[in-house]
Symmetry: C2
Subunit: 192 residues, 2 copies
């Protein structure tokens, strides 16, 4: 395979380097966990030169943030199930899956956010975007006549999702998926 080949493929060499590096980050996380994650280990595993990795991603936090962004489809929208309760349950199942995955990229980025300000900035930006998009759940419920116009979307989404983050991230306790469903139902019942 030559450089010409790469130039004709979608994304080409740059995209391939990115996918190789991010695959290495995920594999390192799975095998050794966040605390052992280093740029050198990622470079070695991916076969990408370490100076390339340092130049493009700058830090472990940079790698994690890019992995988080790569994993979320840019066209992401909250699931449309036909009811507010159904939509919130589907949303909470996504959050639950992300926080209980082994390895959990979200958990790793959260840990990184308490070590470097750039990871904290990237994470808050990511979540701002996700919560803003998730407000569509409320817009749709209002359009269906399920809940009154002017319902506070942020408050509703926090009521549904916050218990999952608190229990699984800060309290560091298990939480079954059925509990994630219950918190979605409590949130849905709190409006309308």
């Amino acid at each position: 395979m030559t450089d010409t080949d790469h130039a004709t493929r979608p994304g080409g060499r740059t995209a391939r380097v990115r996918s190789d590096v991010l695959a290495a980050v995920e594999a390192e996380l799975a095998e050794h966990g966040y605390d052992a994650l280093t740029i050198d280990a990622v470079a070695t595993r991916s076969g990408v030169h370490r100076t390339t990795v340092y130049r493009r991603w700058k830090s472990v936090a940079g790698l994690l943030v890019d992995l988080l962004e790569a994993g979320s489809d840019d066209s992401w929208q909250p699931p449309d199930t036909g009811s507010l309760e159904g939509d919130l349950i589907a949303l909470n199942r996504e959050v639950h899956a992300a926080l209980t995955a082994r390895p959990s990229i979200t958990q790793a980025v959260i840990a990184a956010s308490f070590r470097t300000p750039e990871a904290a900035d990237a994470l808050t930006t990511f979540w701002q975007d996700r919560y803003a998009r998730s407000a569509l759940v409320v817009t749709r419920a209002v359009a269906r006549g399920e809940i009154p116009a002017g319902t506070d979307a942020r408050q509703l989404l926090l009521t549904a999702t916050a218990p999952l983050y608190h229990q699984l991230v800060l309290l560091r306790r298990p939480l079954p998926r059925s509990a994630a469903d219950r918190f979605a139902r409590i949130a849905a019942a709190s409006v309308g």
Copy 2:
């Protein structure tokens, strides 16, 4: 003042060393923040020899955890206001105050919990105890006939408090105290 004086005072020298050191931790946090907190700075400010500080507290995390424990009265119980909603509002105001204090010891210990396992262990133990004691809010409401026996205390307390932690700690966004009250009302209305 002589050692004899100390020996006759409640707690004596050991208690005084502890209060001097913890006061220094709080002052260092207020002036320089968590990231700049070091045992050496605490030793210098408190006038306690650094080897004493290292021997007794071992790490920055150890200092923070002791500060957290010293700040919580051992006889802490959730406020008794006469109603479930009132109790949850009072509880949420305590959480809100702890998370928005400047400096916030709770926020500093949370940050430390993502850096050292001992801080994580101490924090989860502390919270387990606090949430267990807070279940008294539910016991009292059941006794008053406000809510059915068998109400899930953990779920109720998470519904009330989790949005405050999520918004103020992980999402790193402001949250007015009035919103803390609203989440307490949502939780109270979710049972009974």
